[in-house]
């Protein structure tokens, strides 16, 4: 099947031009002397940001009222089997079976307990079960690529899944996303709400990917890269990766403020 390519001025832009823009924005960051911990929402090499980033400065506001709380999820929300993405169909999915685990903590290192973690990902061939994904790689009938779990008392989440493949996208000609798993995480305050992507160590596509490079600080973007951890593998069954998630700081509770004095 041939998918008609939408008329798009960016579609024929070469990777070399994107690389140049990434390099220029990176050099500007190096000269700025500032520390950026988050991606730039205004990041031209990722073309879809152009009309979708705010141009006015965000308004600084400490969380108040309902923002200092987070929704509660519990046993009635999540079936423990949803943490295993390899058993959701009649047979096992193709690909490298792996465990992905880590802790969700706040800036003080305190665990986020009993909170919802949602993930979604492409299959081993780099194809999503989504009608908008036109990548002509095979769909795996035994893999939907969606998982959920609740963190335990230590803030630990744990999924069993398969390693996703890289896939092409239409940002520019021959653009490829590094393999990644999308994560959606809640904290103890709604303002800690985070949606992000976890990557795999040593991916050769990192340097070419404007979404990853939109986090201009090298150390900050490396926080999205999981570590291979032989201790979380399952012998004869799966490899293992560890990736901890640190949410922005929550306010100390009144009790803890007292203890600080």
């Amino acid at each position: 099947m041939t998918t008609p390519v939408k008329a798009n001025a960016h579609a024929e832009m070469a990777q070399e031009q994107v690389n140049e823009e990434i390099a220029a924005l990176s050099a500007a960051y190096g000269r700025s002397g500032t520390l950026e911990l988050q991606p730039r929402r205004d990041y031209g090499p990722y073309r879809s940001t152009i009309l979708r980033h705010p141009t006015k400065d965000p308004h600084h506001a400490d969380p108040e009222g309902i923002e200092r709380w987070s929704p509660v999820f519990g046993e009635r929300d999540v079936d423990p089997l949803e943490a295993d993405l390899t058993i959701q169909a009649g047979g096992g999915p193709l690909g490298e079976k792996m465990v992905v685990t880590g802790r969700v903590v706040d800036a003080a290192g305190r665990p986020v307990r009993g909170q919802l973690v949602e993930i979604w990902q492409a299959n081993a061939s780099g194809r999503y079960i989504h009608k908008r994904d036109q990548h002509p790689a095979p769909i795996d009938p035994n893999f939907t690529g969606v998982g959920r779990c609740l963190t335990d008392d230590d803030g630990t989440y744990r999924f069993t899944t398969i390693k996703p493949g890289p896939y092409p996208w239409r940002n520019h000609r021959n653009a490829w996303r590094p393999a990644h798993i999308h994560f959606s995480v809640f904290g103890t305050e709604f303002t800690q709400r985070l949606v992000t992507q976890m990557y795999f160590p040593g991916d050769p596509l990192f340097a070419l990917d404007p979404i990853y490079q939109s986090i201009r600080d090298p150390r900050a973007r490396e926080r999205l890269v999981a570590a291979y951890d032989h201790d979380v593998t399952v012998p004869e069954v799966s490899t293992g990766y560890r990736w901890d998630i640190v949410l922005t700081g929550s306010l100390p509770t009144p009790l803890e403020q007292d203890e600080d004095r």
Partner: protein
């Protein structure tokens, strides 16, 4: 207190629709049930065009201003109000919730829905507040700290079924987005 650097955000991308939305996600209460209101609006880009691949979440107190501690947002039982809802925008860029009016959590503060905005092309979520129109808005200390012209972007308008609140990601009448000092 030590401070660990945060894990950066990334865009929700174009393929979240089979993962994040769920049955009843945008119906905190059944539409048309006693006390229910509709909260809806458009998500618009810098050209004023609708954003058909955005995701909006709301988190709110109950009508008395109580913080809800009930689980069950992902499998609603039709009776328990959980205060949390999620709505993907449709092809016309519109999101819709059926919910209850939030009360004020603290005296002297105008009631609002806390709102998180995600979209393809948006590299890190945006946070904002959707205030209910009413007399409290004039006295709210946070709203008073904003320029008058920008304050209006945070106040919903009433319609026959509830409230309308558009989210403008960019442009002259861009919505005020919030950032904590530690973000």
């Amino acid at each position: 207190m030590s401070s660990l650097p945060p894990t950066p955000g990334q865009t929700v991308g174009p393929f979240f629709h089979y993962a994040l939305p769920y049955d009843g996600d945008n119906e905190l209460v059944p539409p048309g049930s006693p006390g229910s209101v509709r909260l809806s609006g458009l998500v618009l880009d810098g050209s004023g065009d609708p954003v058909p691949d955005a995701l909006i979440e709301i988190w709110q107190p109950d009508p008395a201003g109580g913080v809800v501690r009930a689980a069950g947002s992902l499998h609603r039982d039709g009776h328990t109000f959980t205060g949390f809802g999620r709505a993907a925008t449709d092809r016309a860029g519109r999101y819709t919730f059926s919910t209850l009016r939030p009360g004020s959590v603290a005296p002297g503060r105008a009631p609002y829905f806390a709102m998180a905005v995600f979209a393809r092309g948006l590299l890190h979520r945006l946070m904002t507040r959707c205030y209910l129109p009413g007399p409290e808005v004039a006295d709210d200390p946070f709203l008073a700290s904003l320029e008058t012209s920008r304050r209006a972007t945070l106040t919903a308008r009433e319609d026959e079924l509830g409230y309308v609140f558009d989210v403008r990601l960019q442009g002259e009448d861009e919505t005020v987005f919030l950032e904590g000092r530690r973000d």
